[in-house]
């Protein structure tokens, strides 16, 4: 693959799923499963007179991250919004189940999420895929597999992808990354523009964006928007994935209860950041990645041993 698009400093946000896989993993270490030449495509899109993709917008396979064996699934956010559908969903579910069932496979799964949620043209299959994926992740984690979500693509991680991220062992996010369940347009449509103005980018990113998610504990690491940034963040998290047991679940429940109590009354992100003890919350938006990552590492809410 071309170096400019996959080199260490190349933008994760701008890259395609294939470029992210190439940029994240050690050079030439990736082997794809069910690759594009097998033509396992959506059986439904043709009915809608829509073009399909040879890989249905998901790249899966195995490779190495800094010498460690890993399984990888990457969603292509530019194809149909990176959506979960019959084939794209089955590829991710199959990968996680394989890690769960076969101890000779890598016991680390990296999910490069970039998705608006379920593909509406294949909604039933897509919803089922999300449910199956979440179950597979939980079962894989119970079996000792570490599942790490990496979020920094154009489509963010919304709907089923937001739910999926929440079931992972750890979550990495960049400033451009967004994590949520109902996307901004959905909230505006259902609750009105007074509730959430989807056209207000500053509002959208301060709420759903990576910096807020990191500060309130929705993500465990903050990555610079580059291949090397995500590589370094993923590597650091892999050193100590949390056990998936009752103790972790109880710690997570306590964390969420405390967060709700502490931040539940806030109307916007800036007032939350003030409560978290950040002296100049207005400055967060323009802070560069390095300074922000350091600041976040010092905030108690952002650093808990749960998930």
């Amino acid at each position: 693959m071309e170096d400019a698009a996959t080199g260490g400093q190349a933008s994760w946000f701008q890259a395609t799923a294939r470029q992210r896989v190439a940029g994240l993993l050690d050079p030439n270490s990736f082997t794809e499963f069910v690759g594009p030449s097998e033509r396992v495509q959506s059986p439904h899109l043709d009915l809608f007179d829509l073009p399909s993709a040879f890989d249905d917008g998901v790249v899966i396979g195995r490779g190495k991250l800094d010498g460690m064996d890993v399984l990888v699934a990457a969603q292509e956010g530019q194809f149909m919004g990176g959506t979960f559908a019959e084939v794209s969903g089955a590829k991710m579910v199959g990968l996680v189940r394989a890690a769960r069932d076969h101890k000779d496979l890598p016991q680390i799964v990296l999910l490069l999420l970039d998705s608006g949620g379920v593909r509406l043209q294949e909604a039933n299959a897509g919803e089922l895929a999300v449910a199956e994926l979440m179950r597979a992740i939980v079962e894989a984690r119970s079996a000792g597999v570490a599942v790490i979500a990496l979020v920094g693509g154009k489509s963010g991680a919304f709907g089923g992808a937001g739910l999926t991220a929440a079931t992972c062992s750890r979550v990495v996010v960049s400033a451009h990354g967004r994590i949520g369940v109902s996307g901004p347009e959905v909230i505006e449509t259902n609750k009105g523009v007074e509730e959430f103005d989807a056209a207000d980018k500053a509002l959208v990113w301060s709420t759903d964006g990576g910096k807020n998610r990191r500060l309130i504990g929705g993500a465990d690491a903050f990555a610079e928007d580059s291949m090397e940034g995500f590589r370094a963040a993923a590597k650091a998290l892999l050193a100590k994935p949390p056990a998936f047991d009752l103790k972790t679940m109880q710690a997570e429940q306590e964390r969420l209860t405390a967060r709700q109590k502490r931040l539940g009354g806030c109307d916007d992100a800036i007032s939350m950041w003030r409560i978290l003890g950040i002296k100049d919350p207005e400055a967060i938006r323009d802070m560069d990645s390095k300074d922000f990552a350091a600041l976040a590492n010092g905030i108690k809410e952002a650093n808990h041993d749960a998930r």
Binding site: M1, T16, R18, G35, P36, S37, D46, D49, L50, P51, S52, A53, F54, D55, G57, E76, Q78, F79, M80
Partner: protein, 103 residues
């Protein structure tokens, strides 16, 4: 969806040993091109799936120009089109050939 199929005999076989490559994404104004070194001799086949009707002559001209300029003998090229302009199509075809020729 419309399927277009063009068969050409190129000037020669494409150099390099890479057996398959993919470039581009099916997105608005973009396309994905899958190249496979599976045909005998200098044969080249280009199969296009596109949602847009009425551009057969444009596709034919772009493919003919590409075959003439880059001599992609031995390749079966499959395209999923998202409504790409001819210049984008040509660029992706050339990028795909470069991947197939890479060591």
């Amino acid at each position: 969806m419309l399927t277009l199929r063009f068969r050409h005999t190129a000037k020669g076989r494409l150099s390099g040993k890479t057996d398959k490559a993919i470039i581009g994404v099916v997105a608005s104004g973009n396309l994905e091109v899958l190249l496979e070194r599976v045909l005998a001799g200098a044969a080249c086949e280009v199969v296009i799936a596109t949602p847009l009707r009425g551009y057969d002559a444009t596709w034919k001209a772009v493919v003919a120009e590409f075959v003439e300029r880059s001599s992609p003998g031995g390749l079966r090229i499959s395209i999923n089109d998202g409504g790409a302009r001819p210049d984008t199509v040509y660029l992706r075809l050339m990028q795909g050939c470069a991947l197939m020729e890479a060591e």
